[in-house]
């Protein structure tokens, strides 16, 4: 071990008074090394001077006699009011922070998902309850042939909006009609469907779907049916040559 390292360790031991049986080599070195003795001696002298310097800072200084009265006055006077102000202001600020955070999160979500915000009109007591999709009767389906499935939609009720709500434009109920859904290949047999007549029916909407071999339910390309500009007649299915009618 070098003299410099021993000296460093000696300083550490001397500063914190941690001399013990394991310090014997250091003490032996100290006995024979004048340089280390000087170092340790100087360090101890410096620590003594440090204590003196620190003591000088507070020597003879005491707080003024009236400091207790000032503390008492402040402790008694200032205690309740700030507590109330703190609780009120903190509660308000906390609520404002929560509302701001929720609003900001909602707006960020709308922007992120490119969602459209629409006003929601709450129905009043005098107005009839709006017709919800679940209130509509389920459409009935029938096969025209093995390639076409006809879905008959029940008549729609007039929408519960008033003319004023749509800017004076009159809303008329959608005409009753039939919805043709192209579906190929059709797995179900035509005989299982109803025998409603098909020819001459009006087709107002067309939806195209496909069937997966793994799923019996058809998957539509688009949930929104395309409303046809002009209703078309559905031609009766014509049996192929040689096929029994």
């Amino acid at each position: 071990m070098t003299c410099r390292r021993i000296c460093r360790e000696l300083l550490w031991l001397a500063r914190f008074g941690e001399f013990g049986p394991s310090s014997q080599p250091h003490l032996d070195h100290l006995a024979g090394c004048a340089s280390c003795r000087d170092e340790v001696g100087y360090d101890r002298a410096m620590v003594q001077q440090l204590r003196v310097a620190l003591a000088e800072r507070i020597e003879g200084m005491t707080p003024s006699p009236d400091v207790w009265q000032r503390i008492l006055h402040r402790a008694q006077a200032a205690e309740p009011a700030p507590a109330r102000m703190w609780s009120w202001s903190t509660a308000i600020l906390a609520r404002l922070r929560t509302v701001s955070a929720v609003t900001a999160s909602g707006l960020a979500l709308v922007l992120a998902l490119n969602m459209e915000v629409v006003p929601v009109a709450l129905p009043s007591a005098s107005e009839p309850a709006p017709i919800t999709p679940t209130a509509l009767a389920a459409p009935t389906a029938s096969f025209s042939d093995d390639q076409h499935l006809l879905v008959e939609r029940p008549p729609l009720e007039p929408r519960p909006y008033t003319d004023a709500e749509v800017g004076g434009e009159s809303i008329v109920p959608e005409p009753e009609g039939r919805v043709m859904q192209l579906d190929a290949p059709v797995i179900a047999q035509p005989g299982t469907a109803s025998n409603d007549p098909v020819a001459g029916s009006l087709v107002t909407e067309i939806r195209v779907s496909f069937r997966s071999p793994l799923s019996p339910e058809p998957t539509f390309f688009d949930d929104t049916p395309a409303v046809m500009a002009e209703p078309i007649d559905v031609l009766p299915s014509v049996p192929e040559a040689g096929e029994p009618s």
Binding site: Y42, M46, Q49, R51, L54, R57, P63, I71, E79
Partner: protein
């Protein structure tokens, strides 16, 4: 801890007993004021900090643990108040090179002659002022108040090893500020170390 508290002092204070609060103040004002004064070196500012500390103690008296001495908490609050105020006032320490130059002759002698030097004390005072806050706190707690390493580390909220390290580096920094030419022997060439 150096200052002991009466057993039920904090409990009585928690019940709103102002006599207990006054007794509490008289019991702990000296170490608190000493710490504030040692850090700030300004009696007026130290007194303000003393007031702030005890007003705060009264406000949060419900949270004080009657089973433990409040002195570490009081000292910690005092130290925090001191540095929050001193940092706004602290100016750059003056160069001490000239003082060191004047000390060369004195420090060429033995350390026991050094302790008599007024200039060394001034160098040390300036050195203490220029120490980082954590090292300054460490030497005030350990060398001024005489807290043990465990007590000082409890107040400073660090472990004992960290407290030793802070003390070690504080003393090392102070030594650097003192001239090393103290080892000058007659006719011996010396390498002069420049203070950092």
């Amino acid at each position: 801890m150096e200052t002991k508290q009466p057993n039920d002092l904090v409990e009585r204070m928690q019940r709103g007993d102002l006599d207990a609060f006054e007794e509490f103040f008289n019991t702990f004002k000296r170490p608190v004021y000493g710490t504030a004064l040692a850090i700030t070196r300004d009696p007026f500012l130290a007194e303000e900090i003393l007031q702030d500390c005890f007003v705060k103690a009264y406000k949060v008296r419900e949270r004080l643990d009657p089973a433990r001495s409040p002195l570490p908490w009081l000292q910690r609050v005092t130290i925090n108040l001191c540095y929050s105020r001193v940092s706004r006032r602290r100016t750059l320490a003056e160069p001490i090179t000239s003082l060191i130059t004047n000390l060369v002759v004195d420090l060429a002698a033995r350390p026991d002659q050094v302790v008599e030097s007024r200039e060394v004390l001034e160098v040390l005072q300036r050195g203490i002022d220029s120490l980082p806050a954590k090292q300054q706190t460490a030497i005030i707690l350990y060398y001024l108040h005489g807290y043990s390493l465990a007590e000082a580390s409890e107040i400073a909220r660090c472990n004992v090893g960290t407290m030793k390290s802070r003390l070690h580096y504080a003393l090392k920094a102070l030594r650097v500020r003192l001239p090393v030419e103290r080892r000058v022997r007659v006719g011996t060439p010396v390498a002069v170390r420049v203070p950092r």
